[in-house]
């Protein structure tokens, strides 16, 4: 019997799924090794049976469950709980699932405020909010806030090889090791300490580098004064190679979430800057340093001050 696999997406963008497809031909091996029983992007299994005759939002049992996306409304929560119930091993795939991801940026506002803004934005012909929309939760949750998660595989998107390796290891019941270190681990840029670091600048000009030289000849972007979230962000995006953003010569924005489980990218980054004597208040819009990890109650609507 091949192990069965469920793959659900919740408050997600499908980037995680595409990343998995970017695994390439090894994907075909995976198709061989597991039996995919539920995967809305690729196959036609429906909740509650093909004709809707079963219990609503029911899912098949599976050995491995992958969930991408966070939890934003009641239906996500129900699907997630069903996944947890049906899957022996549950993988939180992608930063939305592990830390809320970009959609959790909306946790800085109440759901009502967000709905109001969205449905009055732009060229809407009349101001109404939909009545039969799914019941939104008060905020966007990562899935580990709602159910027990066995494996957290962050990334926006997670690196295909890593997704593959984890699934393979689970299929073969092998041990596996997720990256423990930050983006800096595989970043080959020249680092000399932050003493000479320029004041933080917005990314309005390109980094300083010689186009004919490899990334390993470029000065650390943070040391160049560009806020690079590498040091506070979980690594692995480039596999063993240069982190992807650095390949594009742009600073990391933290898409793998905090390097430290339970870490706070905003606080860690500000602390790193302040500790090195850099005016952290020069940074425009600190909160967006939590743009990938606003779940776990980190991003909240501003406190009302009396």
């Amino acid at each position: 019997m091949k192990p069965k696999l469920n793959f659900e997406w919740l408050h997600a963008c499908s980037g995680c799924e595409i990343s998995m497809l970017n695994w390439g031909e090894q994907l075909l091996d995976l198709f061989d090794q597991v039996e995919i029983v539920h995967f809305p992007l690729l196959m036609d299994h429906k909740y509650g049976g093909q004709l809707g005759e079963g219990a609503p939002l029911s899912l098949p049992e599976a050995d491995i469950g992958l969930v991408s996306g966070g939890v934003a409304h009641q239906e996500h929560l129900q699907v997630l709980q069903e996944m947890r119930k049906q899957c022996r091993t549950l993988i939180a795939l992608g930063t939305c699932a592990t830390h809320g991801g970009i959609p959790a940026m909306r946790n800085q506002w109440s759901t009502a405020d967000t709905l109001h803004t969205v449905f009055t934005a732009g060229t809407v012909d009349k101001e109404i909010s939909p009545s039969s929309a799914p019941a939104f939760l008060d905020r966007v949750y990562s899935i580990d806030e709602k159910v027990r998660v066995d494996v957290s595989l962050p990334g926006c998107p997670p690196q295909p090889q890593l997704i593959g390796a984890v699934i393979k290891a689970l299929v073969n019941k092998d041990a596996f090791q997720l990256p423990q270190k930050s983006v800096c681990e595989t970043c080959p840029t020249i680092r000399e300490g932050k003493k000479k670091m320029a004041p933080v600048q917005r990314f309005l000009h390109n980094a300083d580098y010689d186009r004919d030289q490899p990334v390993s000849e470029m000065q650390c972007l943070l040391e160049q004064g560009l806020v690079c979230m590498g040091p506070v962000t979980a690594g692995g995006c480039g596999g063993k190679d240069t982190p992807l953003c650095l390949q594009a010569r742009v600073p990391c924005r933290g898409c793998y979430g905090p390097v430290q489980p339970g870490g706070n990218q905003l606080l860690d980054m500000m602390n790193a800057l302040a500790s090195n004597g850099i005016d952290h208040r020069a940074l425009v819009d600190r909160k967006s340093l939590l743009r990938f990890s606003g779940a776990h109650g980190l991003l909240k609507p501003a406190r009302k001050k009396n």
Binding site: R84, Q180, K195, P231
Partner: protein
């Protein structure tokens, strides 16, 4: 005398800062030290001060670690309430009789709980608080006192004065430490040398009635003012008028009370410190209340020390302290409300009356009569000013060989000079007794330690009752029962006094019986008791670091004594916090690094040679690097010291002694080009005269690179040949060159290049120098007209005598201001000097045959490069910046490197020699250890987490963190940081920076602290999310 008769013990008499420094240095240099203190606790004068100048550090805060260090040092025996009665014998072999007066409290029993004092019915004036507050008859001198043991004042105690009376302290003392039958005892001790750090007392202004001290309540001394300002003083730092408790609005400081005064007292000398402390007190008062009007009435502001002039200037310009050059001769009452009236003559010559509501008398320093008598008894010479008589060339040697002296007993001086003196005395003792080093000191044998790495934690918790101190508030039984429920706790016991010696044996037994491998003691504070319990762990064969204290007394029972239930709950938390912390504690071993027993001394001037010779006599090897082809440095230009000692002769003898010492290797024409290594093991490369590079291994470094003189650009220097700098003048004078020989009128101009905008510091020795030259000129030909144009005459200390002498000889002193400097022009064959006369209030023209410019001393330009190589800081004026202006005046924050002489700041020869000896003491203290045992609570890099992001590199204050690149198993290149353990002090700034817990401080790891937080908040880690 053969070496084996030398004693390896030293007696230091006086437990003030100078004596403490001497004791600590000597103890670390390998000598057993008896520290004899006449009061009940060491510390001397410093604990009484609120802040210290010019750093404005809290005085108590900076001295407290030294107190504790003295108290804990295994080779320092503190003898309190003790006085030297007699010294016999000779250098290397003295016998000293010490009289120990009764304390009436058994120090081995007293736990300093303070219940006795609280109950004592008798209050008397508290001299520690300068009699502005009361203390009890049973008391501690001050809360941080070392030893922290109560004492009974026999004059005040009801019981001692009347047997059968009172005795309440004995009744309530929990450990029963009171002994009314205590007696005085004489002890005979054999020592090889003695250091006299007898200290000073402040002048008592009430003797002369003119200032109204003791008559008008609102006239107080500067020391009383310190106590008023001190937050831990009797008024909690709140300043009000003593007469009525009303807020103070206007203060006048009167300088030179009991100093520079031959009329009202016999203190001719300048007390050296009063100008600065008055400014400091003024600034402190202004800081609390900027509205306050503060005036300082003075003759000269003698702020000649490092950073002092800046401090003075800030007080004036930033704080608005008024400085009035006028001596006030009396204080009168104004009305009946306590106001005070002062009369003075303004600089413009006007009579002015000022009404103030507080007068602070800046009282001078003097040697107490008892100390003068002691000096007589033991036969050491004193100066007419009643200070120990010393030579500028041997600034810590008394007239009796083997007896050394330091601190204010050598003449009035500030804290850094006293610290330097203490160290200098230690260095001098050490070279005298080098052969007896380590013959008397104790070493603890290494113990065999249980390896607990693979064991599960088995935690033992010992709960202390501390008599009723803890048990009277906290339900210790409930606490004990609770401790038993904590994870990994296998043994819990209660003790009446956990620190008692018999309890230590009990704990050792229980550790063995129960196979405990980690210990928590819930008692008082680790700051005082951790060393004791660590020792206990050691003797039980457990690594001493597998230990944690729960502070349930000082930080619980005592501070919540009205809330027993809450305090008990808190005690549970504290014990739990300690348990979870100790559970993940790992055994730590101090890293031991062997030390290369040699020193590199850079600069072959007097400071460098002095340090070299002292260390060589201490039997260390010395590499002395001199950039020129000659030893002697700036002293080659000097003729005499302030008290007339002949410098060239001294210099010749010193150089010869250096060159003849087999332990000293001199490199001429050499400079340092590269520096590597760290304390204990430096590798310094020098380039020698032949352009050859040579690498020297050494354990310590002393920088004595001197200074250079200012080439004046003002006063037509270099344009008019009769305008010369003072050093040039000395040469001309020595050879009686015609310009000098025929000269009838001489003008000295002071502060040339000093104390201006560009160099806002005082070159310190020029006033004395010019006056000496002037006196010599005058004495040679009394008809000569000699003028000294000055801004402030800074003949500090006993130098005041020559200032007086000069005036008596008819030398004319004319004050000028920075904004109105004298004008110089050529006139006929001479020089015309125009200056504003402040006494006559009119311009004055002087026809001079010679004008002598007292040119500034400048930092050596090479200092910059040297500072870069050794990673040392320079101050704004380019002089080396010591680690701490007060207590570490020759150290750097980089261990193993010291500074002395002009490289540190301009100073006279005597002070350079002192500092050089002090630097030698520090270097010797390091080299004598043979190896450095580094504090094991240092930063550790977790290779599983560190990825070399580099955020921590520049946050480290000790520059110990470096990036490294390595290849991991699969060949990919990785980055990480490494810590130079030898330099790490374990402050944890790196831990506070790292976003990934890649670097932790053992003993205070992130995880341990987090566990403590969780334990404190009693959160069980139950994931709410699980289904």
């Amino acid at each position: 005398m053969s070496d084996n008769t030398m004693s390896g013990a030293v007696m230091v008499v006086g437990g003030g800062i100078s004596g403490m420094q001497a004791a600590l240095d000597l103890a670390d240099l390998g000598f057993l030290v008896y520290l004899v203190e006449k009061t009940g606790a060491i510390g001397g004068a410093m604990p009484q001060y609120n802040k210290v100048f010019p750093t404005n550090d809290c005085s108590m805060c900076i001295i407290a670690p030294k107190l504790v260090e003295c108290g804990r040092h295994p080779n320092i025996t503190i003898m309190t309430l003790s006085q030297v009665v007699d010294i016999s014998g000779q250098a290397g072999d003295f016998t000293i009789r010490v009289r120990k007066y009764p304390r009436y409290v058994d120090t081995s029993k007293c736990i300093a709980c303070g219940q006795c004092s609280a109950q004592c019915p008798k209050s008397v004036d508290d001299s520690f608080n300068s009699n502005i507050a009361k203390r009890k008859a049973i008391y501690i001198k001050y809360p941080q006192a070392v030893p922290l043991k109560y004492q009974i004042d026999p004059e005040a105690c009801l019981r001692i004065n009347q047997p059968g009376a009172c005795g309440v302290c004995a009744e309530i003392c929990p450990p029963g430490a009171i002994n009314f039958d205590d007696q005085e005892h004489d002890h005979e001790l054999r020592v090889g040398a003695v250091v006299m750090a007898l200290g000073f007392q402040t002048f008592d202004p009430s003797k002369a009635k003119v200032w109204g001290h003791g008559i008008y309540p609102n006239v107080i001394t500067s020391l009383q003012f310190e106590r008023y300002l001190s937050p831990n003083g009797p008024t909690d730092g709140i300043l009000t008028r003593p007469s009525d408790g009303e807020p103070v609005k206007k203060i006048a400081f009167l300088q030179c009370i009991g100093s520079r005064d031959k009329n009202r007292c016999n203190n001719e000398y300048c007390s050296s410190v009063c100008c600065m402390y008055a400014i400091k007190e003024a600034v402190m008062a202004k800081e609390v209340n900027p509205e306050l009007e503060v005036s300082i009435f003075h003759m000269d502001m003698r702020t000649s020390g490092k950073e002092f002039d800046r401090y003075y200037e800030r007080a004036r310009s930033e704080y608005g302290v008024k400085f009035i050059r006028s001596r006030i001769h009396g204080v009168e009452p104004k009305g009946t409300k306590g106001d005070l009236r002062l009369h003075y003559i303004s600089p413009q010559g006007k009579q002015i009356e000022e009404i103030v509501d507080l007068v602070v008398l800046s009282v001078g320093l003097e040697t107490p009569d008892s100390m003068v008598k002691l000096a007589e008894t033991i036969g050491i010479h004193m100066t007419p000013d009643r200070f120990a008589s010393i030579s500028a060339f041997m600034p810590v040697h008394t007239s009796r060989k083997g007896i050394f002296t330091c601190g204010a007993f050598n003449g009035p001086r500030d804290i850094p000079q006293s610290v330097i003196g203490g160290s200098a005395a230690a260095a001098s003792v050490s070279s005298l007794l080098a052969s007896a080093r380590n013959t008397m000191t104790k070493t603890t044998p290494p113990s065999i330690e249980l390896d607990v790495r693979l064991q599960e934690p088995r935690i033992g918790v010992f709960v202390c009752h501390c008599g009723t101190n803890i048990a009277g508030v906290i339900d210790v039984e409930e606490l004990t029962a609770y401790a038993k429920t904590l994870p990994q706790v296998v043994h819990v016991a209660r003790n009446l006094f956990t620190c008692a010696q018999d309890t230590q044996d009990l704990i050792v037994q229980q550790i063995r019986d129960n196979g405990l491998n980690r210990i928590v003691v819930a008692a008082c504070t680790p700051r005082t008791h951790e060393p004791l319990f660590r020792k206990t762990l050691k003797s039980a064969g457990i690594n001493e670091y597998l230990f944690e204290m729960a502070n349930i007394r000082n930080q619980n029972a005592w501070v919540h004594n009205q809330e027993p239930e809450t305090a008990t709950r808190k005690a549970k938390d504290l014990v739990k916090m300690a348990v979870v912390k100790v559970a993940t504690q790992t055994a730590l071993k101090p890293l031991r690094i062997p030390i290369t027993p040699s020193a590199l001394i850079i600069g072959g001037g007097v400071a460098g040679m002095t340090a070299a010779l002292n260390l060589a006599k201490q039997e260390f090897h010395i590499h002395l690097v001199e950039k020129t082809s000659q030893l002697g440095g700036n002293a080659l230009h000097l003729f005499q010291t302030w008290n007339g000692e002949h410098v060239p002769r001294f210099l010749k003898e010193l150089s010869e002694e250096v060159l003849n010492n087999p332990n000293i290797e001199v490199f001429y024409n050499s400079t340092v080009v590269e520096v590597a290594g760290h304390v204990g093991n430096f590798n310094t490369t020098i380039k020698t005269g032949t352009n050859r590079k040579q690498t020297i291994e050494h354990g310590a470094t002393i920088i004595t690179t001197g200074a250079k003189r200012y080439i004046p650009e003002e006063f037509e220097y270099g344009k008019i040949p009769k305008v010369v700098a003072s050093i040039e003048f000395d040469k001309l004078h020595m050879h009686n060159e015609t310009r000098v020989a025929n000269g009838k009128s001489f003008v000295f101009i002071q502060c040339v290049g000093s104390r201006n905008k560009e160099r806002p510091y005082c070159s310190k020795s020029c006033c004395t120098h010019s006056i000496q030259s002037a006196i010599k000129l005058k004495k040679e030909v009394p008809s000569r007209q000699i003028y000294i144009l000055y801004r402030e005459i800074r003949t500090y200390g006993q130098r005041e005598r020559i200032y007086n002498q000069a005036r008596e000889l008819g030398i004319i002193f004319i004050n000028y201001e920075l904004h109105g400097p004298p004008k110089i022009s050529r006139e006929d064959t001479g020089v015309l000097v125009e200056v504003w006369d402040h006494v006559l209030h009119r311009p004055l023209e002087i026809k001079a045959d010679m004008v002598i410019l007292a040119a500034a001393t400048l930092a050596s330009p090479e200092a910059v490069e040297l500072a870069n190589m050794f990673k040392l800081p320079l101050n704004a004026d380019g002089f080396f910046q010591e680690a701490h202006a007060k207590l570490r005046p020759m150290d750097f924050n980089v261990d193993g490197i010291f500074v002395a002489g002009l490289a540190h700041y301009p100073k006279p020869l005597e002070e350079s020699i002192s500092q050089a000896l002090a630097a030698a003491a520090k270097a010797g203290r390091l080299l004598a250890r043979k190896e450095i045992a580094l504090e094991p609570n240092t930063a550790l890099v977790d290779p599983e987490r560190c990825d070399g992001c580099g955020l921590c590199i520049d946050v480290c204050p000790y520059l110990t963190i470096h990036l490294v690149t390595y290849q991991d198993d699969d060949g990919s290149v990785k980055k990480s940081v490494t810590i130079n353990q030898a330099l790490c002090k374990g402050c944890g700034i790196c831990q506070g920076t790292c976003p990934k817990r890649g670097i932790t401080i053992s003993g205070f790891t992130y995880n341990q602290i987090e566990a403590q937080i969780d334990a404190a908040l009693c959160t069980e880690l139950t994931p709410e999310a699980s289904l």
